[in-house]
Amino acid sequence: MTTPEEAARAAERVARESYGRLLAFLAVRTRDVAAAEDALGDAFAAALRTWPKDGVPANPAAWLLTAARRNQADSFRRSKTREASEPYLRIISEEIAGASSSLEPDIIPDRRLSLMFACAHPAIERGIRAPLILQTILGFTAEDISAAFLLPAATMGQRLVRAKTRIRDAGIPLVVPEKEELAERLDAVLDAIYAAYSKGWNDVGDAGVPEIADEAVWLGRLVVSLLPEEPEAKGMLALMLYAEARRPARRDAAGAYVPFEEQDIGLWNGSQIAEAERLLLEASRSGPTGRFQCEAAIQSAHTARRVTGVANWPAVLALYDHLVVLTDSPVVVLNRAVVLAEVEGVDAVLDSTMASLGEDKRMIGYQPYWAAKGHLLARVRRMSEAREAFTVAIGLTTDEAVRAYLQRQLAAVNQPNAAMTAIDLQCRP
């Protein structure tokens, strides 16, 4: 006999460990992700009913898969004409037999990568790709995801449903693309995972959000393990790990924001930094340098500078030069300007790069631009302009801790003799 609690715990464990794997396997042939979710959801419900009575099966994942496949076949039979569904039902029953005879959970083929490529397909709207991956691979609900993406849960739910309908109806395949397309398409998958990570990282103050960052790192590890030959996947994982390693140092005891230059490096997670360094090295050995590798290399250089105390600005600047070419992004140009100020001097950068960025419409509502501008102006004692820039930055901030930090900077500008703290160099793509 199994108690209901034990059964529920067993179901929960299987859900956590194999949800995405089961869902991907169920959806890969039909491309109907929503129907596969329903079939799997019903299978979990059946498990909670029968496991307390009959005991937890030897291979819970295979049991769930068999039950879900049966549900899928039933609903297929209901929705299609008998004749049209015959060949399909035969395939399903063969697969059920195959899956339940192989009782090792690892023998359920891992199709999660195929599912991720479908979720990050160019025909899927960019903004919904990361939520879709979080939902299908990790089983997050629309509600879980909506907070991190600053959307009402109902809106997030509708957009997820629409995206899944689109995978089915537009004919988006659940496949890993051919070699010649792989690099370009992988970028979209990595972008989506990194977007999920950034959501979790930028708003560390909110309850529940760090979990999304953890899960994004987990997804990064999954992609690296499934595509060990792809250097950009390693580059992205390394980039996330550099940021993760600094997480304990990003807030002081009172919860206030601590910029990179002032962080206590004793609080950095050494093993995560070591892992990031190793991944970056492997990536640079095995292929061309892409955006994520380049950004990770910049983080590596900043980390080394803080640890050794030896300035390495020209090397960082060279990495930024490369990154500007790769991304053509004003955010990268902004980050580069901050480094350029260390090499060529603050006045030169204010007159050149910062002035031309100021004409870019995308920068007007971008808080880090105004914060960086405020810092640079304050360093050359152009206090009234610095005051204005910090004020705009404060107005654009949504994170309470960052706002408090910027308010301290503004107060320092108002006391002409106070020393300005260094600018925050954490890369925000």
Partner: protein
């Protein structure tokens, strides 16, 4: 899956394209479509949108209008049908179509009978 591939052109841009090369490419493309087997049908080219007539029937009257359905920069200029496994294969055919260089190809799954 069966897809209808709708070719849209910016008509002045098409007129400015090197005609001889364009139609030679089209002949090769249609040949490739034919070779690709059952369910593929070679492209058909439509006369310019200036030749279009649009009809709308309403309760009280029937409107017959001079001109295309939507007055946009890119106009429907032709179409072809393909039967392939999924959207990625359809995208591959859209890229092969010479018109993708001068206009755009809209990929629409056909509802199963």
């Amino acid at each position: 899956m069966r897809f209808m591939m709708l070719i849209h052109h910016d008509e002045p841009a098409l007129a400015a394209a090197p005609q001889k090369e364009l139609w030679a490419d089209y002949a090769a493309f249609n040949e490739a479509l034919k070779k690709a087997g059952a369910g593929m049908s070679a492209g058909e080219r439509l006369k310019p949108s200036s030749t279009a007539t649009t009809v709308r029937q309403r309760a009280t009257a029937t409107d017959v209008l001079d001109g295309p359905y939507a007055d946009t920069k890119e106009q429907l200029a032709g179409y072809f049908f393909i039967t392939v496994n999924d959207l990625d294969e359809a995208i591959a055919w859209a890229k092969r179509c010479p018109s993708s260089k001068y206009g755009s190809i809209e990929i629409r799954p056909v509802v199963d009978a």
